[in-house]
Amino acid sequence: MLAKRIIPCLDCKDGRVVKGIRFVNLRDAGDPAELAEMYNRESADELVMLDISASREGRDTLMETVNRVARQLFIPLTVGGGVRTIEDAVRLLKAGSDKVSLNTAAVLHPELVRELADRFGSQAIVVAIDARRPKTQTGGAEGQRPSAAGPPDGSPRWKVVIYAGTQETELDAVEWARQVESLGAGEILLTSMDTDGTQAGFDCELTATIARAVHIPVIASGGAGGLEHFAEVFLRGAADAALAASIFHYGQHTIRSLKEYLRGQGIPMRL
């Protein structure tokens, strides 16, 4: 059976993995190649590296890092963070990534997705979508879940946000997901900005809505805190894969123990 995938994410800055919540209070968490090897040994299905350097030097270091990580890695590697142009993508693929992920650039220049898919094939292109319930809808305390019904006027239940979650657009996340599929994206990496960092669970409604709207795989991201959250996002959220960073970095759970638990819940896992 096709297994659901567990994908650890390494946030990288200037050649080091960093830990932090939403880019605040960043602390060094180690060498990317060493962590990659550890996750690989623990049966990670793929690896995602997100570059959060903002500088040119940081970008050059990224290429070296990708090279070092890819050298000994024989599972798929996706690299993203600040991919803005075709050249950025070419460099990453040449440095050893199997897939590149674009987020803001895809929203600002959708034709870039088409160009990259035509040039490298859809299998190499992941479009990351950050989505959030519109502010007018949330109300109440931070972290409180809003009603499932959605706004009565039929406006988007989730809006796409860009620039690392700092800018809300008018794009409907579901419509955008359909659009990126038709532009040739191979997969969608979907992050709920409502649950990200809360460790209170993934946004299963958002994930299921998007997963059922497109024929390409959806990787869920944002909110994993416990083993049961992963079970939920696969069973209720219809996700094909789940991505997590802090739950593994803080050593609360290993990927292997997570996969054994999920297999016990009847979810197909590669072990």
Partner: protein
């Protein structure tokens, strides 16, 4: 020298890395003469069936490949490289394959998520050489929208809506629908078995 057939759009880089990691000298080649002189050939196919075969034909490599396959030079086709062994593909109805294996490659139908992406299991037929050291039920990594039918030379099957040819083995000719360079230890073992054969 192991020749990795480069037609401009394949994933030669990652396969090259894996072969060298296993300790074998390998080069990406596109010149038909180099192909004819190679000890073993790997075709890491990716993209579109028609485009790949046309690109190979344009460089004269397709004819060279036909010749090497005909004389029994060891060959490993990966992904589209396996599909090319068949008579043809619905992805490019006007482009003939090498016709070494009977049957046509078809698109997955009646399944919501296409392409088939991720880790899926092998059901390995007994007595294959290409899977020595690999447990049946092992997971390997797939990424494809078209599949090859099961025949007498199928060495392993995988289920995705239907059973399809995950791997083929016919004398010195081998093919895998999955990506051995992306399938962890299992994939490396399959590559090693080919390189050692």
């Amino acid at each position: 020298m192991i020749a990795l057939l480069d037609y401009g759009a394949g994933n030669v880089g990652s396969v090259l890395k894996a072969v060298r990691y296993l300790g074998y000298p390998a080069e990406a080649v596109s010149d038909p003469q180099q192909l004819l002189e190679a000890e073993k050939i790997i075709l890491p196919g990716q993209g579109h069936f028609g485009n790949m075969l046309q690109a190979l034909a344009a460089k004269g490599s397709l004819e060279a490949l036909r010749q090497t396959v005909a004389v029994g030079r060891p060959y490993l086709g990966i992904c589209l490289g396996l599909q090319a062994l068949y008579e043809g593909s619905d992805e490019a109805p006007a482009t003939p394959g090498l016709g070494v294996i009977p049957g046509r490659v078809r698109r997955f139908e009646g399944i919501f998520k296409v392409p088939h992406i991720g880790w899926n299991q092998l059901a390995i037929r007994p007595d294959t050489r290409m899977f020595r050291g690999v447990a049946s039920d092992s997971f390997v990594y797939y990424c494809h929208s078209y599949y090859a039918p099961v025949t007498d030379v199928t060495a392993a099957t995988t289920e995705y809506g239907c059973a399809f040819a995950a791997a083929v083995e016919s004398g010195p000719i081998r093919g895998v629908q999955f990506h051995p360079e992306k399938s962890g230890e299992v994939g490396l073992q399959v590559l090693k078995n080919f390189l050692e054969s």
